[in-house]
């Protein structure tokens, strides 16, 4: 049986409400994938889901980590935060539903498309949440 192991992991810390640095991690992920000569369409999908995940970490979480795991046949983006959890996942997954503040909306976010976009652009999408943190895993097949 072929053991599918991680070939490379890129990990980043994402700070809550740090809008100055928001997007830097995803930009770095995209640059690294381009250097690995990954197909541009795959790179674009990974960039979108990681950026949405990163922005969600900044806007909604108390802080967390963003990982990009590269396998031979897939790329997995993992968002792992330290809270406060999502009250209603079904609502949060609904396009247009947002709990963003007016400050966040002035920055161009809070349209309620983050989680739906993450799911849309992934081949597999998993989310687990509790008050102590939310773990999201998005797989894009190569």
């Amino acid at each position: 049986m072929k053991y599918n192991s991680i070939l490379k992991r890129y990990s980043y810390n994402v700070e809550s409400y740090n809008f100055t640095d928001a997007g830097k991690c995803s930009s770095n992920i995209k640059k690294n994938l381009k250097l690995l000569n990954i197909d541009s369409k795959i790179v674009r999908r990974v960039a979108i889901v990681s950026y949405e995940a990163e922005i969600n970490l900044v806007i909604h979480s108390l802080g967390g980590k963003l990982h990009c795991d590269i396998y031979e046949d897939k790329i997995v983006i993992i968002s792992d935060d330290i809270g406060p959890g999502i009250d209603n996942i079904e609502l949060a997954m609904t396009e247009g539903y947002s709990t963003a503040t007016s400050t966040v909306m002035e920055l161009g976010f809070g349209a309620g498309m983050g989680l739906p976009n993450m799911k849309k652009w992934s081949d597999e999408f998993n989310i687990k949440t509790q008050k102590s943190g939310t773990l999201i895993s998005m797989t894009i097949k190569i």
Binding site: F19, A22, G23, S27, R44, Y51, F109, G110, A111
Partner: protein, 117 residues
């Protein structure tokens, strides 16, 4: 439509001092909501926006968008311009409001990207 066409039609200024001429843009997406851009735009699209912050550049970078038109007379900061140049993105600024800018471009042949709702 080339970058120089946008400049002429909108009486726009290129603030990045970097013209990626040669590329022909056929489609546009106008929005101040970056998650909508992430849901619907692609690399063939010009982004028309009034959002004057680094996240407009980051969003364009993620979508491989190479041309941003900032409307309503917005002037991007040095930080935003540097980020755009670093990401090979051209920024044009125009005094037209978004509605007017879109109308002028549509009149001259630019179209909306096809999308599913």
């Amino acid at each position: 439509m080339k970058v120089t066409d946008f400049i002429n039609i909108l009486n726009a200024e290129c603030v990045t001092k970097f013209i990626c001429d040669g590329k022909d843009y056929a489609y546009a997406f106008a929005s101040d909501l970056m998650s909508d851009v992430l849901a619907l735009a692609d690399s063939s699209t010009v982004l028309i926006t009034g959002l004057n912050n680094p996240q407009a550049i980051r969003t364009a970078e993620m979508m491989d968008i190479s041309l941003i038109i900032m409307v309503r007379g917005k002037t991007p900061s040095k930080e935003i311009i540097e980020l755009a140049i670093e990401s090979d993105i051209t920024i044009l600024t125009t005094h037209h409001i978004m509605f007017e800018a879109c109308g002028l471009l549509y009149k001259n042949g630019l179209r909306a990207l096809a999308y599913e709702v």
